[in-house]
Amino acid sequence: MSRHLTHRFWFCFCFGWLGLAFSLAAKSLGPAAFMSPFIGVLAFSLAEGWWPKAAASSPKTNTPRAVEGDSLEITLEISSSQPTWTDLEVQLPANLVPTTPTRVVTLLEGTKTFSVKVDAIRWGADGPEWAILTNRDRLGVSERVSRYPLHAPIRVHPPAERLNSLVPLYRERPVTGEHRSRRKGPGSELAEVRPYRYGDPVRMVHPRLTARRGAPMVVERHPDRSSDIVLLVDSSQDLGVDLDTTLRWTVTAAMALGERHLRAQDRVGLIDVGRGVRWLPAKLGRRHLHSVVDALLTTEVLSRRQTERGYRAPTNMPKSATIVAISPLLSEMTLAALVDLRSRGHEIIVLKPAMPEPEAYVSLLARRVFRVGNELNQRWLQERGVLVIPWSTGDSLEHVMRRVVRNLGRSRQPV
């Protein structure tokens, strides 16, 4: 907050002074009378009171959550006990674009409500940032400027993608889920039909098959099991423009995968590797889904100055977890994290979003060096047993996940 006298005070003072001085010099009332309204401004504003106070309340939004492209309304109340010329300006983040003016000038006495309509153009968890109130007395002689930090986060979701495929089971948990276990036991998926052996429970005998074949037959099934999935999000860079950026793809994919696996009774954890590491431990349930989604929406590329803590592996990572990383594989820290997790025995699948084409001014040599470097990173990971699936522009996540299932099915030996 700051308060000061405005240009008007000093000019009215100078004009009044000049009028009186000329009156004295000319021994005439005329010049003083000519400038008398300016002296009147000082007298009137002083009588009304300088530096009037006003306050802004915390903002309200018509919805705390929205999807990209939605329109929202942010309402703010301002109040003052004395009449004051109030200039209110609301500062918004880049992902909320105002469709009505964000600044209002009004004579405030009592309480007034001000609303701004905004379009949520990009995903994120930002809200109105500041309300800047400039209060002047009626004639603008004195001024008080105050800033009010506004806390009303609006969570803007990217368009959701519905997934049917699951990341195939690597190490199962002894809890019922949607994954077909490679073991045999009570379940819904047919494993095999075989003759009855000594020791089999009698109720395993299948009556129709037994009647058809003339000998006791047993139907073996695969039990339905759940697993642990950890989503690794690479927020060290965001390449692209507008809505076609790698981080947006990453967040969209992570949200869809998290939602699908939590629906399948899997425990889902989240690692955000950027300039530092954020870790959300693997848990179950709808409440945890909200935590995962909220954490993903707050993902952002932090500047090097904001934090630079290096990679440290999470301490309570489930040993059986499959890691699904979504990364363009450019950050050294992400590569280090993937190799470290692989060395701990985790199965790692990397979905690599396509990067935008460079501009025309980028030289051919620079493009080639960049491409070769990226391919080397990818090959280096593949040599360490990491499955890297490129995700080209235009491919749906479902299509990419089917490729994941196909590739894993080929590499794994049935038990």
Partner: protein, 231 residues
């Protein structure tokens, strides 16, 4: 956000420097924007005031003199409205005071004190109108209450000035105007007292690096990363 360049072709319109029309359509848009700004009610009224006073002030110089004065004063007025700078506003107000002086000197051989006060009030009203126009910058909504409040303020200031002038005229009639010394002394002493009271405040804010500059972007507050445990 974007570190690597994208495959988006640059728009031809984006290549032109903002504010400098490079093609006919840009040229038309540039003038259309200015026409919208000049169509605000307070701008229209202030332009009419300036034009009328310019014509009245130039009466002594004949038609050519009137036109020259009109062109000059309108140019200063337009530059003031376009620049949005308070120093220009006070330059324009000073110019208006001079125009009123010239008009009075040309039209009235002897001007009564109350008419001088009316002249000053016209200049103050002009100043207030342009101040309201300045407040429209950065797409602000101007509430109707601002106009009525300003009218009350200017009216009250004029009334105070006129009453003071009237009182001074009554007190000073028939004497050698020594009362002006008393008025001046009172004015100086009261303002010095105020200045002493104000200087610490003014200096404090002037040194305040966080003082808000209109239109600047303040860095946002960091959001609480709830539900994420930092390692």
């Amino acid at each position: 956000m974007s570190q690597l360049p994208s495959n988006v072709e640059p728009n031809e319109n984006e290549l032109s420097t903002p504010g400098k029309p490079s093609r006919f359509s840009d040229f038309v848009n540039w003038w259309r924007l200015r026409a919208v700004r000049l169509a605000d009610p307070e701008t229209i009224v202030s332009t009419i005031v300036v034009a009328v006073l310019g014509l009245l002030a130039g009466i002594g110089g004949g038609i050519v003199g009137m036109l020259i004065v009109l062109v000059v004063v309108l140019a200063i007025h337009m530059v003031t409205v376009e620049s949005g700078h308070y120093l220009m506003l006070w330059l324009a107000t000073s110019m208006l005071l001079l125009l009123i002086l010239l008009a009075f000197a040309t039209i009235f051989p002897t001007v009564p004190a109350v008419l001088w006060a009316v002249g000053g009030a016209i200049a103050l009203a002009y100043n207030e109108l342009v101040r309201i126009n300045f407040a429209r910058r950065r797409q602000a909504i101007i509430d109707q209450s601002v106009f009525s409040s300003s009218t009350i303020g200017v009216g009250a200031a004029t009334l105070i000035g006129m009453i003071a002038t009237g009182v001074a005229q009554v007190l000073g009639s028939g004497s050698d105007r020594n009362w002006l010394w008393i008025v001046l002394a009172f004015f100086v002493v009261s303002l010095i007292g105020l200045a002493i009271a104000i200087v610490p405040v003014r200096n404090a804010t002037a040194k305040d690096k966080e003082r808000f500059q209109p239109g600047e972007r303040i860095p946002p507050q960091p959001l609480a990363k709830e539900s994420i445990a930092d390692l």
